[in-house]
């Protein structure tokens, strides 16, 4: 699992690359804490190269989303594949995120 962060004024684009299963969710916990600081702006989670997500990964999405709601920011999920879209649908995440 790899995270690539591109910062622009008022906007952070995070490229999620690989599988976001339980071990890798634990791995990136620190990066997520860093990312929470940007929650007052726009956080774009680019999922073009995300192949798999488990509940631990979903939790991270939800954590960021909740933080943004408090800080007055926004979380945009971009380019999810059909398999992950299914998961989002199942879990009601489609209603919680702005999907592009």
């Amino acid at each position: 699992m790899e995270l690539k962060t591109v910062k622009k004024p008022g906007e952070v684009i995070v490229h999620l690359i690989g599988r976001l299963d339980t071990p890798s969710s634990l791995e990136i916990a620190k990066d997520v804490e860093e990312l929470k600081k940007e929650a007052s702006g726009v956080i774009i989670l680019d999922c073009t190269e995300l192949s798999y997500i488990s509940s631990s990964g979903l939790r991270i999405f939800l954590t960021l989303r909740k933080e943004a709601a408090i800080m007055g920011g926004k979380v945009i999920v971009r380019n999810i594949c059909s398999e992950i879209r299914n998961v989002f649908m199942m879990t009601g995440f489609l209603n919680l995120f702005e999907i592009q």
């Binding site: 299963d21 798999y52 488990s54 509940s55 709601a69 398999e83 299914n86 199942m90 879990t91 209603n95």
Partner: protein, 725 residues
């Protein structure tokens, strides 16, 4: 090398120390001896001086005894002689009396002072063997008025002891004469009365009193003539000057001569012909004679010299022995040092050999990480640096070729045979597929060149991974254990060990392994491992440990740990080798597959491969694969995170059963009882503010799978997940 250097220092130091010891010992011994010798010598010298003094006194007293007797004899007759002067014939009788009454007097004469115109008159009586003999000395030939014994007393007017002389007149012996002047009534000198004393008695006295066997005494007259000498050769020199002319140390002797003739006493050391002599001398009263005693130094110090010689000899022997002992000690140390160096060199080489040997057997586990149909591990623990045990395995054409062996003996010879055996296994098994043929060929090869009569017990198996068919051939090795629903010994033909008979026919056997069956191969170093009480580890302990579901690696680690704990302080007597093969293959449609994970989240990455291969065998769509993957991961994560108390080790067993129209995953663990189905599902319709962070996992499991059921069976949590296809 640093150790060796230090050691050689020790050797050098001990050599130095030893030399120093000998030197110090020598110095101390010699110093002690010298001091002792010096004091002993002084003591002996003093004693010799004392003895000489007392000898001088003794001789002196004896001489004086005679002298006094002779003088008394003369004195007592003076008055009668004086009275008889008028009747010359009666003087003869006086002479008779003097001789007859005094045994020390050898002869006596009364010589009248010749008057003008008168005839000489001198009656003389002397002792002969036939009695007293009278003789007149009035002949002109002898002419007594010119004799010393006559003239000297008249001259000095008192008694006079003559110089010794050879009496030709009658006694025919060495004599000295005491003569006294006699006065007539008118107080005029009228005659001289004499008493002859033979010097023979003095010779007797001097000869009988000897302080040391080779010491000798002499008596000198006042002009240095030797009167008596117990040394005959010196006596012939007649007087002191005769002796002086004969000797080397003339200076000292002349000095002594002067002292003697002047009537002094003293002592001197005289050297002659490399020898030292102690000379003590003292005058005799009245006569002005002198006595001298000569003691050769050898005589005084002879004993101490002999003792000194023996002491020195013993010291030399002792020191030599000390040196010899030291030499042996040091040479032993040097030998030991050489041995140590050799040993260190050999140990270094053995270490390298050990590395080479260990690199011959596969050491990376799991050896085939890409294969899900095989979990295996192996372990070799040599008793010494190098050992005679071996195992090896490789996969060729979907068949696992594996072997285990134990070379007779231990150490380097066994290790060489081990290397040969392993090479042969690789060479033959890379072309042949039949275990019987492989073992027979190896046996032929090893018997042909087996001059040292080494043999190898060997077990070789060929496992067809596609169907679990195992063909094997045993060559005298102990039977492996087979783990199915129970643990038992695999029934094997014993055959013969490799290297015994070149043309022996090895029987091949076979057995079919089912999914989840396992083989445990080992050498007798395991079951025969002994503790300090000489109890053996045995098969039962091994079987007890092999119970329960664990990875191959875990099984071997557990056994190793148990053996170490059992053996304790006892030395490892034999090489220990184990090979564990867990067969997880045969993925036909009706079979099930297993995956065992530890309770560690990092293990979850293994799960994806397992689930995917199951899905692949059912040719499921990627979408469904991912969903199943997700569901299984959520269920397993749940167990890993919550089933076992934190910090304790546990396992999760995932079994995938493939039915015709469904896939069933059974996830079981031995943790605390926990029913995940009892967790209320997350509310996915809740607004953002109400959404809970947790609870998603079990929701996903339920959503993806068609049936989810939980049971607690025999202390295990068993979660069954079914997906209809």
């Amino acid at each position: 090398m640093i150790k060796v250097k230090k050691f050689s220092d020790v050797v050098r130091n001990s050599l130095r120390g030893g030399l120093l010891l000998i030197i110090v010992a020598t110095l101390v011994l010699e110093a002690t001896s010298l001091v002792q010798y010096y004091f002993s010598r002084e003591g002996l010298r003093e004693e010799a001086a004392l003895r000489a003094e007392s000898q001088l006194d003794n001789i002196h007293d004896k001489i004086m005894d005679v002298v006094d007797q002779a003088e008394a004899a003369v004195r007592n007759s003076v008055w009668i002689a004086s009275w008889c002067l008028d009747v010359p014939d009666s003087l003869k009788r006086v002479c008779y009396r003097v001789v007859d009454d005094n045994p020390v007097v050898a002869g006596s004469a009364i010589a009248l002072v010749p008057k003008k115109g008168e005839k000489l008159f001198c009656p003389y009586v002397y002792r002969s063997p036939d009695g007293l003999v009278y003789h007149s000395l009035d002949n002109e030939e002898y002419y007594y008025p010119s004799k010393e014994w006559f003239t000297m007393p008249i001259e000095i007017g008192e008694g006079y002891w003559s110089e010794p002389y050879w009496d030709e007149g009658g006694g025919e012996m060495l004599m000295t004469t005491y003569s006294v002047p006699i006065k007539d009534k008118n107080d005029n000198l009228a005659a001289v009365l004499t008493a002859d004393v033979s010097l023979d008695w003095m010779t007797e006295i001097v000869g009988s009193l000897q302080v040391y066997p080779t010491a000798f005494s002499m008596v000198f007259s006042r002009d240095g003539t030797i009167m008596v000498c117990s040394d005959k050769s010196l006596f012939e020199k007649k007087n002191i000057s005769g002796i002086v002319s004969q000797m080397e140390d003339t200076k000292t002797l002349s000095f002594i001569g002067k002292e003697v003739t002047e009537g002094r006493s003293g002592s001197k050391v005289v050297k002659d012909k490399g020898k030292k002599f102690y000379v003590h001398y003292a005058p005799v009263q009245k006569t002005r004679w002198s006595i001298a005693i000569v003691i050769p130094e050898d005589e005084i110090f002879g004993d101490i010299r002999q003792v000194g010689f023996y002491v020195l000899l013993m010291q030399i022997i002792g020191l030599l022995m000390l040196a010899i002992i030291l030499y042996f000690i040091v040479s032993n140390l040097l030998k030991y040092r050489k041995l140590t160096e050799m040993k260190e060199k050999m140990e270094g080489e053995l270490k390298i050999a050990s590395g080479i040997q260990m690199s011959m057997v596969p050491k990376t586990f799991p050896p085939f990480p890409e294969r899900h149909d095989l979990d295996m591990s192996a372990l070799i623990v040599p008793a010494k640096e190098v050992g005679g045990d071996l195992y090896d395995f490789f996969i060729r054409e979907e068949k696992l070729y594996f072997c285990i062996g134990d070379v007779s003996g231990k150490g380097i010879p066994a290790s060489l045979v081990m290397a040969v055996t392993r090479s042969m296994f690789r060479a033959v098994a890379s072309r042949e597929a039949s275990p019987g043929i492989i073992v027979s060929r190896m046996n032929k090869g090893m018997s042909d060149m087996n001059e040292s009569n080494m043999f190898v017990t060997f077990f070789l198996g060929v496992l067809d991974l596609s169907n679990g068919h195992l063909r094997f051939c045993n060559a005298g090795h102990n039977a492996p254990m087979i783990l199915t629903d129970a643990i038992r010994e695999l029934k094997v033909e014993p055959n013969l060990p490799l290297g015994v008979l070149p043309d022996f026919f090895f029987t091949e056997q076979d057995v079919t392994l089912e999914y989840d069956d396992a083989l445990f191969l080992y050498t007798d170093g395991l079951t025969e491992a002994e503790n300090i009480n000489h109890e053996q580890f045995g098969e039962q302990r091994t079987k007890d440990i092999l119970h329960g579901r664990k990875t191959a690696d875990e099984h071997l680690k557990n056994i190793r740990g148990a053996v170490d704990a059992f053996v304790g302080e006892a030395p490892q007597s034999d090489d220990l080798t184990m090979l564990f093969i867990h067969y997880l293959g045969k993925s036909d449609s009706n079979s099930s597959r297993h995956l065992i994970l530890q309770n560690d989240t990092s293990q979850i990455s293994k799960l994806a491969g397992f689930v995917e291969s199951v899905c692949e065998s059912k040719q499921l769509s990627p979408d469904l694969s991912m969903s199943l993957n997700l569901a299984i991961e959520e269920a397993v994560t749940n167990v890993i995170l919550y089933a076992y108390p934190e910090g304790t080790k546990g396992y999760v067993d995932i079994e995938a059963q493939s039915e015709e129209d469904s896939l069933i995953f059974v996830i079981s663990d031995s943790g605390k009882a926990f029913d995940p189905t009892s967790i209320p599902p997350a509310d996915v319709t809740a607004s953002l503010e109400d959404r809970k962070i947790g609870g998603l996992g079990i929701f996903l499991v339920r959503n993806i799978m068609d049936e989810v059921s939980y049971e607690r069976i025999g202390g295990k949590n068993v979660l069954k997940l079914k997906k209809s296809l």
